[in-house]
Symmetry: C2
Subunit: 144 residues, 2 copies
């Protein structure tokens, strides 16, 4: 999308992506990386505050990244990210939910010589309109 | 570790875990969730600012969660997390790096009826002593 820091337009927005969270992938990810009962065990999940199986927030974050790479970073000059602020999971993701992304360039500022940091707000929404995840990524772009 | 919010001791610390980031797992995770060239393509990674293949930050976060579940949350009363603040990746993780965790209870405060939130600082360190990742998770525990 943006080749360089100078190309970045503060306030620019984009909507893109579609990814179905299958029960199988929710279980596979959680068994490997987040084996809490409400992510790995249907019966235990029903007794939890979620009332049923939900995806790991880190799984939602990983899928979000996949959509962000395809919709925003691929063929851009992005050099990676220093980190993420205010990562929140306001509503759980359940088997069958389809995720898509809204992105907004919040700001831009010099970071170190030849590199700028671009705070980018990423909102992950389910097909029913509920927000599953929000964060502000601090993405690096080369300066001309 | 802690069964309830009342059990949580602010200032408590713990060190635990050991996880080797293999080249194969770095590539597999990145191909599925973060296919940027410096995570998936050895030759392209050498030309990037990292100078070689590095793990996705989201992969480091996922492995950190696995260690945190085993070392801190398993058999605790934890109800999940509302989110994470100040997620940072100060040094890249490369194939062969072994990750371990330091955790510190930063604070505790009521969240909503019957539930408290416990800001927990999680630092992921490589065997060479470099810090790979830091964040403060906002973990929920039931109140008595």
């Amino acid at each position: 999308m943006f080749a360089t820091y100078e190309d970045v337009t503060v306030g620019a927005t984009a909507s893109f992506g579609e990814y179905e969270m299958t029960r199988e992938e929710i279980l596979t990810f959680a068994q490997q990386y987040d084996p809490q009962p409400f992510h790995t065990d249907e019966a235990a999940a029903e007794q939890s505050m979620f009332g049923g199986l939900v995806a790991s927030g880190w799984h939602t974050a990983a899928v979000t990244m996949r959509l962000v790479v395809a919709g925003l970073l691929e063929d851009s000059g992005s050099m990676g990210a220093v980190g993420v602020d205010e990562l929140r999971w306001p509503n759980p993701v359940r088997p069958g939910d389809v995720l898509s992304i809204e992105a907004e360039i919040v700001d831009k500022e010099p970071w170190r010589e030849g590199v700028g940091v671009v705070p980018t707000r990423i909102v992950t929404t389910k097909a029913d309109g509920e927000v599953a995840q929000t964060y502000v990524g601090r993405v690096l772009y080369p300066m001309e």
